[in-house]
Symmetry: C2
Subunit: 327 residues, 2 copies
């Protein structure tokens, strides 16, 4: 396990899309804008603002245009959004999005269950989105679901993962995100898979996206970084659940991952104190307890006061010491 | 990050001591005995049954003798208990304990706050316990608290950790557990510290004990194993909280750690399905939600059924495909 040695890592926030999408309560537009503006100052490389899906499909994000219009864009931060199809791409372009994030699954069953299309249908649709993006000069990132396993199919063969990567690489997309959609990844698998795909397409901007469904999210993050993945998706407070494991946690929490990486000597560019404060704000927005840990426990070097009777304890211990010397 | 390659690791359960000690509800003696008997069949190397502290200090474990007397001892499993002093050692010997687990802190402030003695007073008292154990031919393990940091003092110098290790090694104890008492450890620190102390005392039986207070418990476990620690403490369901971070999780959860290590190719000797079932039983005993993940989400390859309308989805997708071919 290598120390970070100041290596720069790039942090992407997904709470405002991947997280809010799963919340039962509609987060008011004003609150979304205020939160994104607050997050923009904390050092993120990228913020996934919203999704240009139909309002019927994802009512939680029906205010995508308004949010994009009202946020204060901070230079250096990439404001991205999920773009499912050409109609969504047109809306995204009208909103002057910095990047299209397109999604499909490397598992046919999961793609059908989640997107209601075959993989070939998804790919054809997304190829149209990529063409439009090229015309408009907007970079494209592909988030590939179920790269480390499918909750319905089980293991996904590496060749299938590689096949879809090759096809998107041929479309000349700028980046690919390897998504552990339901928390099936484990550290040695992560390292082997990441090393494999990076070796084939070293020019690609690679991102890893982990869920903490089985507690391995931070260990998987270490594995990905050791395999030379320098971009990481995460979600403030760990919001964004997993539909296949009721009650289980979803996305890895931004404050937990950043805290660990900073301890290990990586340069995340992030303001951890600001993240912890933003998580407290987020908790009041979503109105339920967050699954993140550092938001509750604080930085590892947070000092706690000794017990209230500490001076008495010391005095009694000393007294006993005297008795032992002069019984 | 190395794959396990079948390497044998040894799992110690601490829920019945470290966990129950923190529960507000007294776990009935019958239930303790039944749980330990159930756990004995699951492949553990060691089970920390109870504590021979005064009933006044830890009422939750006031039935230590009775529990030790009533459990069915499975050959090959080491039944250990916390032994704070010579009086406790005598009780432990009467209970025919397999090992004494003695505890002190490498931080003076934490030792005073937790044990109400100076470190020198603790060491003198524990040296008496070790002498008694030697006489009786019972092995001794020392659990050193705050090895990776103290919640009141902050960083603990490596020299202080090494100093206490040297003094206990000189007493010829059999094992030392490096405890991350309040979840301050981080992976690169774990690896460096473990490698350091093992190099000085390679003959010692080393154990690591992590808390998940800041989400790093499993990543730290990987780091410790990579540093050649082959014995690990953990707590079923992750029970056993952290008094310095209200609401935060405590011990790493046995089912989560074992699941990860098995995925990575280590031989833990454990029955994971049995652990998940035992965690469900434990949840009903402690009467609150467990902080463990695998107990809720199951093994990573747990298969989930596709959505109820999956056949319709497929039919509609095919139909659309036909239309696209013959519009």
């Amino acid at each position: 396990m290598k120390t970070g040695n100041g290596m720069r890592l790039f942090i992407n926030e997904v709470a405002t899309r991947d997280g809010f999408q799963m919340e039962s309560r509609f987060i008011p537009t004003d609150d979304k804008v205020a939160l994104i503006d607050r997050l923009s100052a904390l050092g993120y490389a990228k913020i996934e603002v919203t999704s240009f899906t139909s309002a019927k499909a994802i009512p939680a994000l029906r205010d995508g245009e308004e949010v994009m219009h009202r946020i204060a864009r901070r230079p250096g931060v990439i404001y991205t959004a999920l773009v499912p199809n050409v109609r969504g791409a047109e809306r995204a372009l009208e909103s002057r999005i910095d990047e299209f994030n397109i999604v499909m699954s490397v598992s046919e069953t999961h793609n059908l269950a989640n997107l209601r299309m075959t993989q070939e249908q998804s790919f054809a649709q997304l190829a149209g989105v990529v063409a439009l993006a090229k015309q408009a000069g907007v970079p494209v990132n592909v988030s590939l679901s179920c790269v480390f396993g499918c909750p319905m199919e089980g293991e996904v063969p590496l060749a299938a993962v590689q096949g879809w990567i090759d096809r998107f690489a041929a479309l000349e997309v700028q980046g690919i995100t390897l998504c552990d959609t339901t928390g099936m990844a484990y550290p040695t698998q992560v390292q082997a898979l990441c090393e494999n795909v990076i070796a084939v397409h070293p020019q690609m901007d690679w991102t890893a996206h982990f869920h903490n469904t089985r507690g391995m999210g931070l260990a998987n993050t270490v594995a990905a970084v050791e395999a030379s993945i320098h971009r990481l998706d995460m979600s403030l407070g760990g919001i964004g659940g997993c539909p296949y494991a009721p009650g289980a946690t979803g996305n890895v929490a931004t404050e937990d991952v950043v805290h660990m990486l900073q301890c290990m000597g990586y340069d995340t560019g992030m303001d951890l104190g600001g993240l912890i404060a933003a998580a407290a704000e987020l908790e009041s927005l979503v109105q339920h307890e967050l699954s993140s840990q550092v938001s509750r426990a604080g930085h590892r070097l947070t000092r706690h006061a000794p017990p209230a009777d500490f001076n008495d304890i010391v005095a009694r211990a000393k007294e006993r010491g005297q008795k032992e010397l002069h019984p």
